[in-house]
């Protein structure tokens, strides 16, 4: 397998982009990545997206996006893994370049959510769960996460307020990210008094939806290493694992077994341990998922991630900074695009381009993207040499 490097990145701001269509969003991010890379043609375009069929009445994004950005005749595929779709597109590009099958892969991920009314989007998001045995019972995606969070609090004795540091940290960091949906720190009062969505999850535990797209251009690392003095950012690990589609079939209690397996595999590939990771862009769709991701990836003992957060270790100066550019909570969660935003944010940190959110000495960054309520988890580690 060839070593794979990043040549360019692009992203749009996450927000309600009423004047932009699905393909215009994807195009903005893709063309920004091509311009950043200084590349005119690519061999393949891999597009990540969760729900264009129901939300935008458009499928076949493999051709649709390649055509729109002027790459007709390139290979074009669409990847779907619910909220992990963005990472799935990125991983496909990594595998294609690593294998030698293609030399330039443009990976782009997009979600256009505001073309659907809110209650339809709620039903569409629930399709990431088991439609027959979870969705048909009248549960939303938030409800499934609330079931996990309540059980977690019951087993480990945490109170709702103990999850507050995840939200405060994300918003404080998002204040420095011009692409974030919310660029303002929030107060403890705002967290504690937020309206309940599905008890114990309140509005401030949950990440906001939004329209957005992000893109990364991948090439073989050897091509870049020949250039003198170039800082090369490479993909050190790419791994995925699944668990049962339905929460009720899980066997490990409130623990993300697929995240554990995918993180372990990523550490093995990169020959690293959690101690080597400088910062971690995790999938804080809900505060409980941030906690579970930290535990499954070896940064906290089972049931102890809220302690890590309460001790300040998740902040930019802590042991393992998370959501360094706002995370899903403040940057926003354009579902199928989120995984690509995480990768783009790691690259911005490794390039030293994160502005006021810059982590000192960021050399190795990790992402973890959670599809469904823990059923499809992709982990990536990137490093800079």
């Amino acid at each position: 397998m060839r070593e794979v490097a990043v040549l360019g990145i692009g992203q749009t701001k996450v927000e309600e982009q009423w004047d932009k269509s699905l393909r215009e969003l994807a195009g903005d991010a893709a063309l920004a990545a091509l311009q950043d890379a200084g590349v005119g043609r690519v061999d393949a375009v891999y597009t990540g997206n969760m729900m264009s069929g129901s939300a935008n009445f458009q499928q076949h994004l493999g051709s649709y996006i390649a055509d729109w950005i002027g790459m007709r005749f390139a290979e074009g595929l669409r990847l779907e893994a619910a909220c992990s779709s963005g990472s799935a597109a990125f991983r496909t590009g990594v595998l294609a370049v690593a294998s030698g099958a293609v030399d330039t892969a443009l990976t782009v991920a997009v979600e256009k959510m505001t073309d659907s009314p809110a209650n339809e989007i709620t039903a569409e998001l629930a399709t990431a769960a088991d439609a027959e045995w979870e969705g048909d019972q009248g549960l939303s995606f938030v409800a499934l996460n609330a079931l996990v969070m309540r059980r977690y609090m019951h087993e480990y004795g945490w109170q709702h307020a103990d999850f507050m540091p995840f939200t405060l940290n994300a918003h404080a960091n998002g204040a420095h990210n011009p692409y974030a949906r919310f660029q303002k720190a929030i107060s403890e009062k705002a967290y504690l008094n937020a309206p309940v969505v599905c008890d114990p999850i309140n509005v401030m535990d949950a990440s906001p939806m939004g329209d957005g797209a992000a893109a990364v251009l991948l090439v073989p690392a050897e091509a870049l290493r020949r250039l003198p003095g170039a800082r090369v950012i490479t993909v050190l690990a790419s791994s995925g694992a699944t668990d049962t589609i339905a929460v009720h079939n899980r066997r490990h209690g409130p623990f993300l077994q697929a995240a554990y397996l995918s993180a372990q595999q990523a550490y093995r590939q990169a020959r690293l341990t959690p101690d080597d990771i400088d910062f971690f862009e995790l999938h804080d769709a809900f505060t409980i998922m941030a906690a579970l991701s930290l535990e499954a990836s070896g940064f906290a003992e089972r049931g102890q991630a809220p302690r890590l957060a309460l001790d300040g270790e998740i902040r930019p100066t802590g042991r393992i900074p998370i959501a360094t550019l706002g995370g899903l909570k403040a940057r926003g969660h354009p579902v199928g695009a989120t995984g690509m935003y995480q990768i783009v944010e790691v690259i911005r940190q490794l390039r030293g381009e994160a502005g006021g959110a810059q982590i000192d000495g960021a050399r190795i960054g990790m992402t973890q993207n959670i599809g469904g309520s823990g059923s499809n988890i992709l982990t990536h580690i990137l490093g800079c040499s």
């Binding site: 709620t122 045995w133 019972q137 939303s140 079931l147 309540r150 019951h154 079939n249």
Partner: protein
């Protein structure tokens, strides 16, 4: 939504009919024909008693399309006596507070209504607190 999608799982919806594995005796719900414990083929029908306890719960205040007439409603993970866990709505709660560990039993209720008076009505299992004698 199409009627056959609901019609073909009526035994599960109305009577909690799952499967039992002939190899390792694991009880399986919903049925899946492949035992999640040992990987063997498991097609022997098994009717669950419908008794269990609350493993976790929450309340739906904003419902997905098709479920809005009954908000707010409580949903739960119910651990069945025979082992498997099932996702379902709770009903007949009265003023009783819901708690983890609370014993519940299955009943049949309307789950979903589609659109106008000609829309489909979907019935299925919900769980209610076990009446203490």
């Amino acid at each position: 939504m199409e009627i056959p999608r609901h019609w073909r799982i009526k035994k599960q919806r109305y009577a909690l009919v799952g499967e039992v594995c002939p190899h390792c005796d694991a009880k399986i719900f919903p049925p899946r024909d492949v035992c999640p414990e040992c990987g063997g083929e498991a097609k022997t029908p098994f009717a669950f008693t419908g008794r269990g306890e609350i493993y976790s719960y929450t309340v739906m205040n904003d419902a997905p399309a098709g479920y809005q007439e009954s908000t707010p409603y409580t949903v739960a993970l119910v651990k069945l006596q025979e082992g498997p866990m099932v996702t379902a709505q709770l009903t007949d709660l009265g003023s009783q507070p819901v708690e983890i560990g609370m014993p519940v039993e299955m009943v049949t209720r309307r789950i979903r209504s589609d659109g106008d008076e000609r829309g489909m009505l979907v019935y299925g299992y919900k769980f209610r607190p076990v009446m203490q004698a």
